[in-house]
């Protein structure tokens, strides 16, 4: 069942997860399709940016541990 995913880093799952959350969240806030897509794209980038920042902080804190 998991053989296909055995060599894939688990962090890649963040991409579809963040995309789905961004799309659904913004779809529940706006009605116009163009606005939903633009806002979702911005949120998607924002989520990844924040996660990357957290990763960076954790990496720095655990450096040479």
């Amino acid at each position: 069942m998991l053989t296909l995913l055995a060599h894939v880093n688990i962090s890649w799952h963040l991409l579809p997860l963040a995309a789905a959350i961004s799309l659904v969240y913004n779809a529940s806030r706006y009605e116009a399709p163009s606005r939903i897509l633009v806002r979702a794209a911005k949120h998607f980038v924002l989520i990844l940016f924040v996660l990357a920042m957290i990763l960076g902080v954790l990496f720095a804190l655990s450096y040479q541990l």
Binding site: H13, L17, A20, V24, A27, S28, E31, A32, R35, I36
Partner: protein, 294 residues
């Protein structure tokens, strides 16, 4: 308060449909774009979480003394709607039927069979996998108690056709279990002078379990530990995917009931950073509204 620009039809029906199947409420309201987003995103997350766990992540046993955190995750998963209702029904059935193996039948069962047959044939032992069909029948045992006997018509790995009798005391696994296969245990007997003589036994034998009897059925403690051992970190990943799918559907249900959270006015207060390109013209909004209402 702003006037709604999309015809929400009956909000209660829309919300109920959106809860049962993500996107269905919006389809009912004619909001096709949103229906596509909700159904694709939410159902994909939920289906992927289920795929990762082999369909075993979505269940709740609810035994006294069990950590409440499991209840919280189950409630989040239930947001996805129809499967949540189904899981609650399965939990009730599980509490009623329990995990007892089946030692008697009310009617004959015929099913596809696979398992290993261990036979003692003089000096030579047979220990081979068998696939075929099994027929299990109710019987009254020698002490007057109900029991199960059976017959296997199958094929050995080398293609040889075989026919085995299963004696009294044949047992089936529990009716409900979160597994697609139902175990069969029993002794192989041969008739000699009108008496059943034990000549072997079944090992790792099973018949298919119906979808109704395995999907969303609570796991036992042992099965849950096995699932953790088998999946490792993917257990948490599957749990997160299904939980988030359920929670996102709460947003979709509310949208179906009450429209978009920020209204229809595209007010400028919250959109100061937006360019004019992603701000729909008033005429465009009105055209969409008319089209949707029609």
């Amino acid at each position: 308060m702003q006037e709604p620009q999309v015809n929400l039809k009956d909000p209660w029906i829309a919300a109920a449909l959106a809860f049962l199947v993500p996107g269905l409420g919006h389809l009912y309201q004619g909001r096709l774009f949103k229906a596509a987003i909700y159904s694709f995103c939410i159902l994909s997350l939920w289906a992927y979480g289920m795929y990762l766990s082999g369909g075993k992540i979505f269940q709740y046993r609810g035994e006294p003394g069990k950590p409440r955190t499991e209840l919280l995750s189950f409630v989040a998963q239930c947001g996805v709607g129809a499967p949540g209702i189904f899981a609650n029904i399965q939990t009730r059935r599980y509490r009623r039927l329990g995990e007892q193996p089946t030692t008697s039948l009310s009617e004959t069962i015929t099913a596809e069979f696979e398992g290993i047959v261990e036979l003692q044939q003089g000096d030579e032992d047979l220990d081979e996998p068998v696939t075929g069909a099994i027929e299990l029948s109710p019987e009254v045992g020698q002490f007057g108690d109900p029991t199960i006997i059976g017959r296997i018509n199958g094929t050995l790995a080398n293609g040889q056709q075989v026919d085995f009798m299963l004696g009294e005391g044949t047992r089936l696994g529990p009716v409900l279990r979160n597994s697609r296969r139902r175990a069969v245990e029993g002794e192989i007997v041969t008739q000699k002078d009108g008496r059943a003589i034990r000549s072997g036994r079944l090992r790792d034998a099973s018949i298919p379990r119906s979808f109704w009897n395995w999907f969303a059925v609570p796991l036992s403690n042992y099965e849950e530990q096995e699932l953790h051992r088998e999946l490792g970190k993917y257990h948490e990943l599957a749990l997160v995917f299904t939980m988030i799918a359920g929670l996102l559907n709460v947003l979709a249900v509310w949208d179906a009931f009450d429209g978009p959270a920020y209204g229809y006015g595209y007010d400028s207060e919250s959109d100061e950073d937006d360019t004019d390109l992603d701000r729909p013209e008033t005429d465009e909004v009105e055209r969409q509204t008319v089209a949707t209402s029609a």
